[in-house]
């Protein structure tokens, strides 16, 4: 079975419009890939299609996680196969506490693997790493949370669920420096796991997060296609030249 999170020839439509026009992408186990692109290029569409959001229609292609085809699976089964999505705009679930939600999610993806005391310790260790007040556990999921608090909760879930592959959708947008650092530390910690390191697909508009996390590969998406792939230096090009220059080069056949 081939290891990795592999997207092959993926075409996705939203409300009748084709947004992704054939995406090929592969994230090796434990690797960090960055996906960059101007607004409207289809980056979030890729994230939602991989997770199985019902509003996104896959018309062609495949998404495999360590050899298992995800596209036939419901969103919860994809998560149980080892996929995690960090949302750009996480939903609020009033009345459901963070503690309850974390416990239910952990039990769903890793049933009965940790005795309650060890699970509590895991949570409290992560709260500390993320500089989050334990009072968070009693709050309702994302209800009345600031942007930074929502992103921290995404990272807390990431750490607690320890998936095989995590797609971070614009996780850095709207964050202050401290929150951004917390996000990056979470990513680095999971990346550094000696066994079962998490593979990341970091979707971002700005190169800022990539100053803290050096990716193994960078891809640039424009108009629903990946137009350029390269090493970490590609992120520097985006920073210094901007997307328009790169768009011009790609159009002209020069890259």
């Amino acid at each position: 079975m081939a290891q990795g999170l592999e997207v092959r020839g993926l075409r996705v439509s939203v409300q009748g419009n084709e947004i992704l026009k054939g995406i090929d992408l592969a994230v090796e186990p434990g690797a960090v890939h960055a996906l960059m692109g101007p607004n409207g290029s289809g980056k979030s569409t890729l994230a939602f299609a991989m997770s199985g959001h019902p509003g996104y229609l896959v018309t062609e292609g495949s998404v495999k996680l360590d050899g298992e085809e995800l596209l036939e699976l419901s969103p919860d089964k994809r998560a149980r196969a080892g996929l995690f999505l960090s949302f750009q705009y996480p939903a609020a679930i009033p009345g459901v506490t963070v503690a309850n939600f974390l416990r239910t999610a952990r039990q769903a993806v890793r049933p009965d693997d940790l005795p309650p005391a060890k699970f509590r310790k895991l949570i409290f260790d992560q709260l500390e790493l993320l500089d989050m007040d334990p009072a968070f556990l009693g709050r309702y999921v994302n209800d009345g949370f600031s942007g930074g608090e929502k992103k921290r909760l995404e990272m807390l879930q990431l750490a607690v669920l320890a998936p095989k592959y995590a797609v971070l959708d614009e996780t850095d947008s709207g964050l202050d420096v401290d929150a951004l650092r917390a996000v990056c530390e979470s990513v680095q910690a999971l990346r550094a796991e000696p066994q079962n390191a998490t593979g990341f697909l970091i979707i971002t508009h700005y190169p800022r997060i990539l100053q803290y996390i050096t990716p193994d590969a960078v891809h640039i998406m424009m108009d629903g296609r990946i137009v350029l792939s390269g090493g970490p230096e590609l992120a520097n090009r985006v920073e210094s030249e901007g997307y328009d220059v790169i768009r011009g080069e790609v159009a002209g056949g020069v890259a």
Binding site: G52, D76, I93, G95, F101, A108, Y140, Q157
Partner: protein
Amino acid sequence: MASLSLDHARGLDSAALDALVDALGQGAISIDARRAALARFTALPPPDVPPGRYWKIDLTKQEYEDVVVQLDAAAVASSSKYVYDLAAVLREGDPDLRAVFDREFRGTLDPAHDKYAALTVAFQNCGAFVYVPAGTKLIEPIEFTYTARNAIFPYTLVVTGEGAECTVIERILLEGDAPFVCGVAEVVVAPRARVEISSVVEPGSGRIFTTRRSKVDRDARVGWSIADLGGDLVVDSLHVRLEERGALGEIGGLFFADGTQHVALETQIDHIIGETDSQTIVKGAATGHGQGRYVGNIRIHPHAHKSDASLRDDSLLLSKSAHIDSIPALEIAANDVKAFHGATVGAIDEDEIFYAQSRGIARSDAERMIALGFFEPAITQFPHALRNHIRAALERKLPVNP
């Protein structure tokens, strides 16, 4: 024509009334007052809940010939020394207590409008009088239970002295095939007193009519939480009057109509005078063919300046045949007032379901989790002692998916 027997009186007419008084004595209410009340019940119209496409029950066509009045409605069961069985208060009670009772009894009822309260007054066959003297602050909740095997007409009166504090838990249990409950609860809150009262109708069948009334004096507070979990037909009316400055009224209501249950809840807060505050939070859900109706009234009377009122009313529909009508009514006749109203009605948000699924939680588990979460803001209005019990009862009503 009522059929007289030692155990019960059938039907809700004057013959049944005579049988009741023969068996149990007049109790707190004279036979003349009972007869007058029965006449009022017959003459008054029911609340306006028109049958239609969804709500199927016509309150103007309710039949009572088969209602069996319990002649053995037991003395209320409670271990608290502040709860007096109604019959005992009147037979043997101390005169000061009797004076308090006489002063407050029926003080919050409106004979011109309260149809079902009139029926309670007519057939009252069980009851509790809770009296907490001035300055007494009770920590342990006062609990008592009314059990309906046939028809009971419970009357609860809670009176506090100045500065008193107490928590009251009133439960109605429904047993047998055709229980019938028509009850009244009055809560009188003296200056600087604080009363938390919870009224729970436990799961079961039958028809339930409840009239709940409170008046709140200067710098005093009532927090009334109601959970309508049982009954085929429930008509529940809760009014709070804020009569003096600094009065605070908080209502927390929840209902969950499943099967073919029909639940009609009406709440009203009257800000009679200024510098009074209120908060109303109602969470209603329906599944199966359950029908709900919620009317939420806030009345800020003329000259009740600087009042602050909020009404939060949310309805959750868990099946295609379930329906809830939600009618807020804010009447504001004063100046410098803060009045907030927020409402939602609909099915479970698909974004919330997808978010939970993306964490590995199966759709049906996500729906249960989110539906239970929906009730939480109302559940936290109940005393801690009751919360898990209510959560468990709500969870049992959730549809079980294959």
